[in-house]
Amino acid sequence: MKTSRSLVASLLAFASLLPYAAQSAPSGNTGTYTNVLWVVSTTVPQLARCTELLVDATGDLNNSSRLSVYGNLNCFADNTAYPANGSATIFNNGKFGMNLFLSSGAALQCFNWTGLSGICTVVNTGTNAVLGTATLTLR
């Protein structure tokens, strides 16, 4: 009798935890938006001949506001591409932000965009010095 009581209690305790378990379980589908292309112009001399940011963005926008972003900053005139990776966020106030680290030691900090195009600050990731700006236009 005592055993059956403890068994029932255990089952009830387990059942009470189920909603929390369901909440923490992954849901939704993660997808990738491939070949997202921004046309770039920048005031940073070292990146002046870089004209295209081509990335993939992965995330689950049905259940999240954040995306993982990765790709290249292409500089065709120099036959060079800087690998770029970082994240993007769609804020609930309607603003878009993105922070991308470049292999050159610089970062593109793009905040408070009202759409998917705007101006980014280019900073030196070692010294945090501002190197200039970059204008990104989603075609």
Partner: protein, 208 residues
Amino acid sequence: MAAFQSAIRPSGKLAYFMVAVALVLSGFWLFEVKVFSSAKAEDPAVQVKQPVLNATRPQLYSAEPLKSKSEITPPPQVQLSGTVGGADGQQLAVVSVNKSAETIVRVGDTIFAASTVTEIKQDSMTFRHGSNLIRVVMQDRPASPQGIASPTQALTNEPQVATKENTVPGLTANTGIAGLQSSGEPKNGNVEFRQAFEQKMKSFQSRP
């Protein structure tokens, strides 16, 4: 006198021999005169034979004039990915020539053998290939039916002969979009990305 006559009179055999020699010599003389006169008459024919001699060595003579490089080389297949304004205010074009890696060109640049960029507009580019002006139009990529992009084929802007009356094999003048063909380049996912962004914005706005 009789002695003299006997001295110069040949014997009978000798006389026959001398007559035969004379006939042979006269025959040779007649033959030479005929050949010489006929050779003179056929003098123009001798000159006519000269081209025949030339024809035996055709490697040294070309019957057709040399073709220019543009007539020999077919025009390149150019895909216009975009145009941007350069720092100097000049319009630049991002192009892929014969499905190679994209590169940026400006007016005056040579993009292929005997092909030179002559004009860049916001949505098109024109280049000269020999005597042809070929216009390439930037084409919007169609949206995928689903929100998430899948690796599909992109459109290629097949060069079109725009203003010249002469056409190039494989190209059709003023065919527009109907002349476009797909290439192996991946399409850009801007449309899907923009749709997802707008859908997310709507979901924020619909929240209480």
